[in-house]
Assembly symmetry: C3
Homo-oligomer: 238 residues x 3
Amino acid sequence: MENDAYIPESAVVGKFVVIEEGVQLGENVSIGHHAVILKGTKIGDNVHIGSHCVIGIKPGGNKNMRKFKHSKQHLVIGDNVRIGSHASIYSSSSIDKDVFIADQASIRENVTIGAGTIVGRGAIVEVNTKIGRNCTIQTLGYVTAETHIEDNVFIGPCVSMSNDKYMGTQNEKLKGPYICNGSKIGNNASLLPGVTVGKKSVVGAGAVVTHDVPEKSTVAGVPARKMKEKENTDDTVS
Amino acid sequence: MENDAYIPESAVVGKFVVIEEGVQLGENVSIGHHAVILKGTKIGDNVHIGSHCVIGIKPGGNKNMRKFKHSKQHLVIGDNVRIGSHASIYSSSSIDKDVFIADQASIRENVTIGAGTIVGRGAIVEVNTKIGRNCTIQTLGYVTAETHIEDNVFIGPCVSMSNDKYMGTQNEKLKGPYICNGSKIGNNASLLPGVTVGKKSVVGAGAVVTHDVPEKSTVAGVPARKMKEKENTDDTVS
Amino acid sequence: MENDAYIPESAVVGKFVVIEEGVQLGENVSIGHHAVILKGTKIGDNVHIGSHCVIGIKPGGNKNMRKFKHSKQHLVIGDNVRIGSHASIYSSSSIDKDVFIADQASIRENVTIGAGTIVGRGAIVEVNTKIGRNCTIQTLGYVTAETHIEDNVFIGPCVSMSNDKYMGTQNEKLKGPYICNGSKIGNNASLLPGVTVGKKSVVGAGAVVTHDVPEKSTVAGVPARKMKEKENTDDTVS
């Protein structure tokens, strides 16, 4: 507990917690044991932060990594947000009210997450990404940098995305997927750089999406193609 | 170290450890630095708990998440269990003797894990799941909620499972895979909701299992089909 | 802070940090809150270690797990290495200068990582593996045990590898992939035990590599085959 951090009397703070300077807590915040709240983080009312979280991390890197513009803004966490154990969240991101962030989830800098969205266990959201309201990013889902996810989207478990057509070059512009309102992406599907998934579309489990998916369509396979109706109607592999 | 927790003299406890009330430790337990053992957890003899674990977590959620029935039972960990660093385990689950839980593994509430089973590094086991004896869940394997895994099953690295046919609805019943005795699932395979993998069957790496797999068969591909014998016998991609 | 650890005055050490005996820090090392540096670890100059890391872990296991030979060597971390939060690194490994290890990454024992390489967020590198210089292992990439990765290799996000042809036997020799200089592996691809990816080759996203890939070739699909030129030129799934 430090100098000028603002910690109301209503806060319930675990053991060995570190709260750095300039942190502001709302009313009725609970913080698990060993959690670390770094400089300047702003936390709303009724927020729960699990044990061993690290919140408000400043980005770093090595000489081989891309440099992203990083605003000086602090991390802002809205009311009623609940964060599990071992989660890590970077500075200059904004988490809206009623968001649930599960254990071991990791959210990078310059990310916005809309109200009511769920970020699953071990899911990772990379830098410069926008996620809308009432989405679900399931367990171990991977949302790459420079991705845009609209509202009411379901990203299944272990979904993978990429944003780097040339894999590892330094100069090409990164472009993640754009996933429109109400789409559903099946578990372990792969989305390639810059693909758009149209609104209310469904991507099958394990599909590899190499091209844009039109709205209200269902695709599956490697590479993903539109499903014919009545495919695979028997119940046993033949 | 708290009030009425039972900590025998044989315990070796690291620095900055938190042991909450009602915790009971067996003989010769070792606990790494910064570990957190939450209320009421029962730990057997010769158990090792790694640094930074959080053990006995009570479930939470937001308004968009399904509510699961949660018994008031405490987490029970059997003799000779070894748990790595940064693991998280929920209350009301039961881990039998000789289980190994690797670093960063996460096990939810109302899960039972049979004797001798290995839960790999970063592997995740969701709620209401039963895993038998002498199974291996490899690194980053994902076992979804409402899954049943019998004995001697091998789940390869990065295997993904799902349980929600309609992806994100609130009312449909969730049903994870049922994986029978002695089956082996190759790395990064995807299992769809409710599929059964028959006993002693093999699922190839990267396969997408959309239908039940008969016992003693081998399937591969997207969607997974029975392998013809002598497929792909040359040694180089053509 | 303990007995005979060597901690220069230039070190910046967070709160609740544990530094065990025999640890040696170079100049200008910074260590985040709650980090744990275990016995005998040697750390170079200008190294940053994030909050909640556990560094220098000794391996364990249960009776169903393979035993690997484990040297008594301590973990050595070179100059200018930067390690994120919640990372875990084992003893007897060697991390060369300028390596970046992101949050939640996990590196096992008897691993060498060459100068300038990036190990992404949540990426896992298993035992007895050698990774060259200036490689990128992207987020959630999984490098199995007994793998050899040469220099300048790009492993995309969520790539999965395996090393155990018979899945779970105790006696067969494990053999991971061998990935040659300058190769690029697309996101969520699966590499099977013992495959070689030739130099400057490209493996498509979601591919399942069951056979060796010749140098300077591009493969994709399940199972992976050489790409014909001009495949999939339209921009929408059909």
